[in-house]
């Protein structure tokens, strides 16, 4: 049953490769993502026991990521049908197959309890994303793809070295060599401190660069800016979660050793630095897709701050992970629509989108309000919980800086979003084929609905799951 998560999308990828027709091939995506969503839901309700060797299991942390990714991917796959019907001239065989292979790799990340296996799956997600970023086949997208490939490959190679160090620390400590998560957590305190310490640093740098924590985020604006909106949504809402999950696994080991506090301190600093970077670069950004990339840097920063604070903030950080996925989905999808309608993503040309694409522009505006933490949307709840937890712990500096950066980012982002949505449409604007239609508007609308609902009410099972997951990270229930 667990393997269905990995094998089902692979089957879909093979099928989409075989379908010869551009128009029909696209339907493979929603078909298989719905099947995947069904399997995920079944696994969430009846979780099978760990595999005999302990390599494969769905723990609460994995469940959270699986849930966020499956929902986002399913909605994006329906959007893909609408989006690709505007771009039938461009062959989409590679896109469809890569998307499904990527889904399979992300599922493998979620269920692996062996860090080596997790590493392989994470590297696979990096590679399958490269053709997706390159979908537009122009000079700028090659450049973005090259930077993405090189920086993420080197980052993930560094993470592998970190894993080797961790394994070596078990040898030096005269224990059985292992990269199995439960074993590592059990023996964490007894591992050789020097090697363990080095391992944590390398793993943080490696997974941090994949996640896009500043100052390791340099590939992000290019990749997010040049990839189609659909791919951006999956990168910012789905792949980020996979890298984060890898980091959470390290966090689990660190929390079980004596170095938990130091690890948290580093995460806290990196999180605040990320938010500061985002605040600086988001202001006066003339490309609204690149702006979203900085918003992503900001939100991984927020999650890192929550992890750094620990205790009660862990619950909020995990909740924020889900909120961020859903909201980023709306942002990138609606942004993609506006991009299609104006054939530009520069704020010089794109103004008054609410007149040309009223639905997409309204969704973009609503998602902007949500992602900057305005009530009643879901990110408000998680960000509020993080701030109150910071002040509750007496960490006034963190809480203060957090609020300051949030305010700066709100102003910076508003100065780009408001003119794009509400401004005057330029006179000599070229005509384009795209107008809002149900297939490209309904998917982000559904996501936005989820963001609103989660802001008003968190279902009890989700709350329990979040608590269990936070407990795995050493938080209070």
């Amino acid at each position: 049953m667990m393997w269905a998560l990995v094998l089902l999308p692979l089957l879909g990828a093979a099928l989409s490769w075989l379908v010869p027709d551009n128009r029909r091939r696209v339907w493979v995506l929603p078909l298989f993502s719905l099947a995947q969503l069904g399997v995920s839901a079944a696994l969430l309700v009846h979780t099978p026991p760990p595999s005999p060797a302990g390599w494969i299991w769905l723990d609460p942390l994995g469940k959270l990521v699986l849930m966020a990714n499956s929902v986002l991917f399913t909605i994006c796959s329906f959007y893909a049908v609408g989006y690709l019907s505007y771009r039938l001239k461009r062959p989409n065989r590679v896109l469809c197959a890569s998307l499904l292979v990527c889904l399979s790799a992300t599922s493998l990340v979620v269920i692996s309890q062996h860090l080596g296996l997790l590493w392989i799956a994470l590297e696979a997600t990096t590679l399958t994303m490269a053709p997706l970023i390159y979908f537009n086949h122009n000079a700028r997208s090659i450049e973005a793809t090259w930077k993405y490939l090189l920086i993420c490959s080197v980052g993930i190679a560094i993470a592998l070295l970190g894993l080797f160090f961790l394994a070596y620390s078990t040898i030096v400590a005269k224990q059985e060599v292992s990269l199995l998560l439960p074993t590592l957590i059990r023996d964490a305190a007894a591992l050789h401190p020097g090697w363990r310490h080095a391992a944590f640093i390398f793993l943080l740098v490696g997974f941090g660069s994949k996640m896009g924590l500043a100052p390791l985020h340099t590939w992000k604006p290019d990749a997010y800016g040049e990839a189609p909106g659909l791919v951006g949504a999956l990168l910012a809402g789905g792949l980020v979660n996979c890298a984060l999950l890898a980091l959470l696994r390290v966090y689990q080991v660190a929390a079980a050793s004596s170095e938990g506090a130091l690890f948290q301190q580093v995460l806290l600093t990196m999180g605040l630095v990320s938010m500061a970077f985002a605040a600086v670069f988001m202001a006066r950004q003339s490309d609204f897709k690149r702006m979203l990339a900085y918003s992503s840097v900001e939100h991984v920063g927020i999650i890192a701050v929550a992890l750094g604070l620990g205790k009660g903030a862990l619950f909020a950080g995990l909740l924020h992970m889900i909120n961020n996925s859903l909201t980023k989905g709306v942002l990138f999808l609606s942004c993609g629509n506006i991009h299609r309608a104006f054939n530009s993503k520069s704020t010089l040309f794109v103004r008054g989108a609410i007149r040309r694409t009223p639905w997409s522009a309204a969704l973009f505006l609503a998602a902007f309000l949500a992602i900057t933490g305005s009530p009643p949307f879901a990110p408000f709840v998680s960000e509020f919980l993080i701030v109150s937890s910071a002040f509750g712990q007496g960490n006034h500096w963190t809480g203060g800086l957090f609020l300051l950066f949030l305010a700066l980012i709100f102003i910076g982002m508003a100065s780009t979003v408001l003119p794009v949505v509400l401004g005057e449409v330029p006179q000599d604007l070229e005509r384009t084929r795209y107008r809002d239609a149900a297939p490209t508007v309904l998917p982000p609308l559904v996501l936005m609905g989820l963001v609103l609902v989660l802001g008003l009410w968190i279902p009890a099972p989700l709350q329990d799951l979040l608590r269990e997951a936070a407990r795995l990270l050493g938080g209070e229930a």
Partner: protein
């Protein structure tokens, strides 16, 4: 037996210098390929025979010694370039830095808290030196293909360190990591091909359309 392993490791270190000091891309690719084959034979020398080890040895030699070099040579042919011109870090400075890193690696490795059976082995300094050389090539070169070679050198360094844990690394993980590397180089080869078509050169310093205003 172990003295042979040490000699191979010294050869690996020399290959680093060959890559650092040459501008001819085809030669660099061959160097990295030979290094890959050397690395592939090492597990057979330092570990007792088992099917696990022999599988790893064969697949590494095949992938690092044959498949990856073929992919890169093909990319070089398609892009019609032979030499690396005006790198960011010159060849002489590269060699000097390489020598510096190698000696630092030896000093560093002597201080590391290694487990007793690994003390005095050349594996750790060779790994650190190869890793650093890879970094140097990656940062110092302009052409996309040279950067891929730097990445491969880095991978080789990491792999060398992994030799210390060959018993711990399950076959599936080793095979998976190797497959990832192969697919990665394959994808990079395709991207390089597109870069050369789009920019009529594979000079990554020309990739500068995307930057902060």
């Amino acid at each position: 037996m172990n003295s042979l392993a040490d000699q191979l490791l010294v050869l690996c270190l020399l290959i680093n210098f060959a890559v650092l000091g040459t501008s001819r891309l085809a030669f660099s690719v061959r160097c990295v390929a030979v290094q890959g084959v050397l690395l592939g034979t090492l597990p057979a020398l330092v570990h007792p025979f088992s099917w696990h080890v022999s599988f790893i040895v064969v697949s590494i030699i095949l992938v690092k010694g044959a498949l990856i070099p073929v992919l890169i040579i093909r990319a070089i042919k398609k892009a019609e370039i032979e030499r690396e011109f005006s790198p960011f870090i010159g060849y002489i400075p590269s060699l000097v830095l390489g020598a510096l890193f190698t000696s630092l690696a030896f000093i560093f490795a002597a201080k590391l808290p290694l487990s007793p059976e690994h003390e005095g082995l050349l594996i750790v300094p060779a790994a650190a030196a190869t890793l650093m050389s890879g970094f140097l090539v990656l940062m110092g070169r302009r052409k996309a293909i040279s950067q891929v070679l730097g990445y491969l050198l880095m991978e080789n360094g990491i792999f060398l360190f992994g030799l210390l844990l060959a018993d711990a690394m399950p076959v599936m993980v080793e095979a998976g990591a190797l497959l990832d590397l192969l697919v990665g180089i394959f994808v990079m080869g395709i991207v390089i091909n597109h870069i050369s078509r789009e920019f009529s050169s594979i000079d990554t310093s020309r990739l500068s359309a995307l930057r902060e205003e």
